[in-house]
Symmetry: C2
Subunit: 263 residues, 2 copies
Amino acid sequence: MQHFLLTLVQSIFMFEMREKTIQKLIAAERNGLKHMDEISSLQRRADGSAGPIRRTALHDTLVNHLRDMIIEGDLEPGTRLHEGQLGEQLGVSRTPLREAIKYLASEGLVELVPSRGAVVKRFSPKDVHDMLTVLRTLEELAGRLACEMATDAEVAEVRALHDEMIDRYKAADRLQYYKLNQDIHTAIVRMAQNSSLVDIHAMLQTRLKRIRFIGHEGPEKWAAAVSEHEEMITALEARDKVRLSEVLGRHLFNAWDRVRASL
Amino acid sequence: MQHFLLTLVQSIFMFEMREKTIQKLIAAERNGLKHMDEISSLQRRADGSAGPIRRTALHDTLVNHLRDMIIEGDLEPGTRLHEGQLGEQLGVSRTPLREAIKYLASEGLVELVPSRGAVVKRFSPKDVHDMLTVLRTLEELAGRLACEMATDAEVAEVRALHDEMIDRYKAADRLQYYKLNQDIHTAIVRMAQNSSLVDIHAMLQTRLKRIRFIGHEGPEKWAAAVSEHEEMITALEARDKVRLSEVLGRHLFNAWDRVRASL
DNA sequence: ATTCAAAATTCTGCATCAAGTCTTTTGTAT
DNA sequence: ATACAAAAGACTTGATGCAGAATTTTGAAT
């Protein structure tokens, strides 16, 4: 009987904690750039079989939350991920937290040091350069394929994103501009109809997001990037694969110049 | 018969793991078809115990082991990873097993279904085609970079691997041939001196390993592949980047023909 | 044969226990 | 008195068992 009461109280307490956690997560969701990614990521995982809506697993929520914390700079490179403290802070137990950390380790965002825990991975300038090189090659491929595979509707959609982005650019809304910028690149990759390409591109994009998010480029480089985007769209609409591929390559080649200062 | 020996060796391996403190074990290399290598390495270390004892997490050991089981076909696509049963079979508790599964999920080898467990991911023919397309693009890039960056010593090393592979080919030692084949590709990628490229290439190679390992190509296709490799080496030795890139591309384009039958 | 309910199996999360590592303190020697 | 080394203690990760929740399977009744 005593035991029963104890477990009952425990359950209520647990429920409280979970409610608090969810509220915290929702609150945190408001102010970040994470809304899109979280949703898309969840959908990607959930609608694999187009079945009924499954409740989101705690790992997934945690993985997304931690990833955002790292990208936004709440967890700086080199910081040790303290299981106890971090768990307390997020209102979850250590077990799901550990699983989330392992997941992120496989993604390459954190590094696992045996019997000394996990630290946020620090990217050297060369690492960033290497990633941009690979990303460039992948987007060149995506551009070629997209010109072959894209439907008119998809192209129109990208055009809409582009126009929206230009508006944000003129309004100097840097955050939204940045977000739409990434959306356009992701859309082009998606048009290539290559699942593996989409996966790897998303992964690289995620790893670089932190760098790009932190980096501030000056207005003249910003303008150059916009003009490159303009070229991209026209090339895509003309289904000019060599031109699109070339512009994408140049765009990412220049991206190195834009971020190198902030390293 | 082979399978019997394998399971016997596996049992011994498990017994070893349970007897000795697991932390003392040495993690096997992340790359390669390492089943035999893993065991021999473990025994080597257990007998000699020379050199600094690198502690390794049970997590890593499990990840490597499970990966091998999936690649070799012990766990067929679509089979559910039963935590209790699998844990019992491997002699470990469920917690590290779950962490390993999460890690592999991030790697794309298993799929996580909320509150229904994990299943070995099944790759459709289109998935394989997509992966080969990306891999082709990446190796073309690697070829170009390798011609610029490679030292003479590295080229000589690849030549040695190649000659060894030809020997195995003539001896019809399919397993070793296959292993050396992958080693050569990995070596070329490594020469490109691009860490991100190495990472992603390794990941794709891993995902495709299962397909390629299972697939049996006929002798005439085998000969064609060898001749392509011959071309690769000469192009590399001449530092002819456009030729090497072209051959690598053709090699992987043809790879699709070689594996498509076994899907 | 189909549907609903109950039971069993399996996944998910938490708390506790064990082991290893790092830090601090104390003791000894120069 | 200071410096170095060794031991002890505290802190952190690693691992296991346990309890609750959900899904699937089986059995019975209409």
